[in-house]
Symmetry: D2
Subunit: 294 residues, 4 copies
């Protein structure tokens, strides 16, 4: 019997672990769950038939999934679990982590005979609930192929390069989310000052060459409605854009636009609040233009 | 019988005027065509049954369409045509023009009893050939409704505000095209330096939140293939992004990301060449990162 | 007897006209003064022996000085004065004006036989009071040489090019003021978050290669003291940086850093208030970093 | 007898160690010198009466100075010297190092009873030759006071905060150097395109509020002369601006202008070449504007 452990039952992790449970039931596997707030693990077990576990117990699993806020939290649980790891296991980190952390963590786990895959996901809470996430994987391709059947929460799994490459792609993707969100917000604020009908403008942009996921989905659904539903925190988007900056620095690349947007998102985090939805970054643009986007 | 005049038979205008001709034939209208290089008007007439005309003749039409490189060229033909305009006519300017020019031109035409609509289009040369362009219209809504049947090259016509609003939305759309193109290029150049597989990275981004028209269509089709087919000139994209900057200045708005990208596109125009395809702007990013995007 | 007219008795103009009065008295010239709020002209006359005048009277002067908030106000007075101008006169515009306006105004005045010089000043209110301003002049060099003796408020007069060049240099200078102010503010906010002693840091920077007028004078005197004395309004600095952006656009140049700072200063104008001292732009940086600079 | 060791005899270190030798002779101290290329140490000894030493010998000194390209080179020598360090010694690192490295290095040395001071210098090669450098010190203030007499190459020593604060201030200073250099270059390129006399423009700016060390010294002496003398490498300036970016990231600060300039300097490094003088960054601006600055 294969034992799978899932650590981190947040807005993404909870439904991901639920898909893991369904899959495990069908294949005779066992799913251990752990969460910093233990009550969430208990609730998950009651609802999905998973098994609450300590970090020590989870460390003995064949495949360990982590889905935590940042690489720092992964470091913490890894530190506690290291003495109890089972050689031959695979650690699949679905956190939106840091490429530098991946390199270090992979080396530490390798010393215990454990393979690390950085495997962040995209698709949001809706994708997690539907089990239709995209997973971008860095690390050993054969290890990814072996782990693939267990990625029950994914409908697209792509190997993008060596250790850290998954985190790198995720950071760049989220930085581009930040860029499109911010720049579209700028454009709408300026058009608003010019007296243009913003709903009509967005309608046109979404039929034209300037369209993006931000213009097609996020701004109509979250900004123009003034709802800003808190599904992905502004502080986490600022963190991810910051990882893209770190990545750029690490390879001595030049990305002035991503760098500028990362700085503006950090500013929005301080001005608007880190726990607000990431689309609330546009409230800073509104202040900068003395104009609401509606 | 209604007379329609179409001025400017470039990569966009030529197929647009062809759709006008088909429509006119079905409704018993007449289509005059004019082009700076007269041979193009003759060829259009031979192929599509339109009538080559002088500017003076075109000035007497009921509906005048212009589709020229910039508002400066529209000013030139308008200057020559003004004495010959017919009161009650409508001038539909499909140029990616300047909002300030629209205000001025509308006032000048109003003095001759002619209504000006700024009506730039999006959809590219493919959309023009298929007659499926999107038209964003600024000016009098009733005049737009009256002219709507003649917009035979469009499948979506949206009224976005008063005079100049159409040009404003077009400028912002193209600025956003520039932002998404440039920022995605930056991200890929950095990932390339980090040794990530760029095709796989783009595949993931296009299934994720950072996707845009640039990441889904332009970069895979034009950059990764190294083809950079010259359908929309870099110099014109830089001009359009510059109009978005002017617009921002005119309303005392703040759009730091659009401003930065407009400056970088202008730099690319000088470094790479104004006649190159707009996607060739990424060659400057490649130089800035000492890394090809492929 | 030569008649000199000075229009615009603001924080700069008032002491400039006072130096003109002293000079005129010594040379047997007459000084007319005009101000939108007439009481200021009366007070100036009472204190400095100048003569309050209507725009029509001022129009007949041999040399006309203007020192107004923007080129728009110069346009207004020029419109009223045009019918009354004296051929052979010289118009010296000390406003921080717009290069495009200079070209237009010079042409309009030339039609009346009047020579236009764009002649903005630097040195601040202290320099104006001491009569030690620097004047940067665009236009005809011989006309500048002829007017030079009358520039009693200046100790340095530099011919920088043709019509508009004076305004252009002034706009770039003030944009650089904005860049150095803003960037030094950013650096200090970050150092403050890192727990560094900011007074000591500034002391070191001012002995090192990163120093500027902003770091040596403005920030120690106005920001670290939290006084922000309102001598040069934030709204005017944002306007001047905007002129540098317009200038860049007009020559198809690429200045991404100036463009970004101009956008951020405009944002600060909206967030902090246009009438605040220009150094109060750093209050936006403080909000963006959740950290006071002190 | 006190033994002083100086490691790193580059363009800065060589004259610094010479001043150390003069001071040591007067006070009966001994100076050991080390350089990666041993011949330079031999030459220094021959000229200045210092003593070439191995890293093992240098490790036993009472005060160890390092002046190396980056913190990575300091790590290398520290790794080799660690077993031979003398408890009670002080390590004064004059490298333009990384604040994160300082924290780590200080902890490693503390374990051997050695105190680490980050003590980067400013003043350039001229300041080094004259023994008039400014030193910005992070770490224990009492240790700085004790080491102060040995800083024979300095005429200004400022304690700016705890461990890493010296490197942080140096990074911000050099980032500001980069900002002023780049932005002034942009302004001049645009003025050049507008036909303004650049020498006159710079003369005016240097009498006005936009002036900086870059406008007053670097650009007139190195750029307008087209000499670009290679005293401080572009690659090192890009590295330092990058440290300021890392610092900003580390404290979750927001510095969009510094971030943008750091990215542009990195681009210049790739386009113009890392070994060129830092002022040659303006050659990229020239390409971006199709205009030489002269």
């Amino acid at each position: 019997m294969t034992t799978l452990a899932f650590l981190g039952l947040g807005a993404m992790g909870d439904p991901m672990a639920a898909h893991l449970a369904t899959y495990a039931r069908a294949h005779g596997h066992r799913v251990l769950v752990w969460n910093r707030t233990a009550a969430k693990a208990g609730a998950h077990a009651a609802t999905h038939g998973t098994h609450p576990a300590t970090l020590e117990e989870a460390a003995a699993a064949d495949v360990i999934f982590t889905c935590l806020p940042t690489s720092a939290e992964v470091d913490e649980v890894m530190h506690q679990m290291r003495p109890h790891l089972r050689p031959g296991a695979t650690w699949v980190d679905c956190t939106s982590g840091h490429p530098d952390a991946a390199t270090r963590q992979a080396a530490e786990l390798a010393a215990h005979g454990v393979t690390f895959l950085d495997a962040p996901v995209s698709g949001g809470t809706v994708g997690a609930q539907q089990g239709r996430l995209t997973v971008m994987v860095g690390g050993d391709a054969a290890a990814m192929d072996a782990a693939r059947p267990h990625l029950a929460f994914a409908d697209k799994v792509v190997h993008v390069g060596g250790t850290g490459a998954g985190f790198a792609v995720k950071a760049v993707n989220n930085a581009l989310l930040g860029v499109t969100l911010w720049a579209t917000g700028e454009g709408l604020a300026v058009l608003g000052r010019a007296g243009v009908n913003l709903g009509a403008a967005l309608d046109v942009i979404n039929a034209s060459s300037g369209r993006s996921n931000a213009s097609e989905n996020l701004i109509p659904q979250r900004v123009l409605t003034r709802e800003f539903p808190p599904t992905f925190a502004l502080g986490l988007l600022a963190k991810d854009a910051g990882i893209a900056v770190d990545l750029t620095q690490g390879v001595q690349g030049s990305a002035p636009v991503i760098a500028q947007v990362a700085a503006l998102l950090r500013a929005a985090q301080h001005v608007v609040g880190p726990a607000e939805d990431h689309t609330a970054a546009l409230k800073l643009i509104e202040a900068m233009n003395a104009k609401e986007i509606l």
